[in-house]
Assembly symmetry: C2
Homo-oligomer: 239 residues x 2
Amino acid sequence: MSDIAGYRPLYRQVHDIIVRKVVQGVWKPGEALPSEQALARELGVSQGTVRKVLDALTAENLLERRQGKGTFIAEHTQERALFRFFRMARPGGERLTPTRGKGVVKIRAARAAEQAKLDLTRGDRVVEIDRIRLIDGRPAIRELIILPAAHFPGIEKRSPLPNTLYSLYQTEYRINIVSAQEELSAVAATARDEADLGVAAGTPILLIDRLAVSLQDLKVEWRVSRARSDDLVYAVTLT
Amino acid sequence: MSDIAGYRPLYRQVHDIIVRKVVQGVWKPGEALPSEQALARELGVSQGTVRKVLDALTAENLLERRQGKGTFIAEHTQERALFRFFRMARPGGERLTPTRGKGVVKIRAARAAEQAKLDLTRGDRVVEIDRIRLIDGRPAIRELIILPAAHFPGIEKRSPLPNTLYSLYQTEYRINIVSAQEELSAVAATARDEADLGVAAGTPILLIDRLAVSLQDLKVEWRVSRARSDDLVYAVTLT
DNA sequence: GAGTGGTCTAGACCACGCA
DNA sequence: GCGTGGTCTAGACCACTCT
């Protein structure tokens, strides 16, 4: 099967079909997919081919398989989403769970930098979430989050927002965050940081610039975090 | 086959056998392994089982497969090793290649912190590499690297050291770095940093603390880097 | 016991690299 | 044209979960 347009393996086609169905919400987060046998019959391929695809999607964190039970759409639950994308920890490696501090949600026109980052055009509107996150009850991170308003209708009325936004995106807006690019730098705390985080102005803090991408490959969230670095570190494993 | 000791799938056993052979240096970096058929015959399993293992080891960056040619031990080449573990970039994402600045290599007794980090015991010796790395000809990063001397005999005589140490570890000492845990924080530049990196004392810089682990699962390198953050960022993709 | 995913096998055929 | 990995199939049996 070597077409002019190039050859596309069966398992790739099956992969795309299943991803498309997840995007369309055919199965909801936490729900089970049909069994391998059923999918194979339905798609007219062998069970082995379906298995290869389901295994790959599991490796991509999109599905979860449980022997004896079935294959499920992975959920961005509290702990899972947190440990996957929230990288702040104590020096030495102990992972931390932030709690919610005060926050403000606004809707406004996108600025030039935001248009560029999120592939928006003039006149598009964005949601701005400005919030503080606490660790052990003490302010630790200030986050400024920008979302394309078109994809998140009514989000400004959902106050108070949950601690794990990605779970909200997934269940309420059918947007699965699958990867995020982060850029870190060190900056001096401003007077504003002093008020927000309780560190003296001029103290070095971490600036984390994140662009989160959805399963549909859309740039869905731009998040700039300012994190205290006195007793916190950004922890990541390179493989 | 449900033993008391627990059941160990065939493909796991095959996985371990092949990893062991790589550790022992049965095949050198860049060399080809026997074909799937040959391995299957040799190990007394089916080709499908061998394939499953080789695919997994490829995903772990230990092997490389090339259709029509064979399966090869992955090499820590200049560009590969650099892009895998060197995360400094320009804001916006452009990856950078550092060049070698001045460096000093010493051998001395391990300090308490080093013993703890590298699982050493009293009296063990370490190699200390202290070097500057340049970006666009300008000092950008100062690295302090600690290795257990026992694993790197004669490394102090190899001056000048190559830019990519992991390639040296792999080819000369049969030590494959497969993962690294990094912890980042923001600190103020010291007078020493001012001299090394050309930033004013007090300027925020990135402090990167890395523990690198080998295929044998040994803690093999402790590296503390101090990086200018004025026109450089630490870039990472979370998935 | 029925149904699910997990392991393992055997074999056919395709795509690629090279001599 | 041969040898390599890449795709795809069909089927057997095992391990786990639930009823």
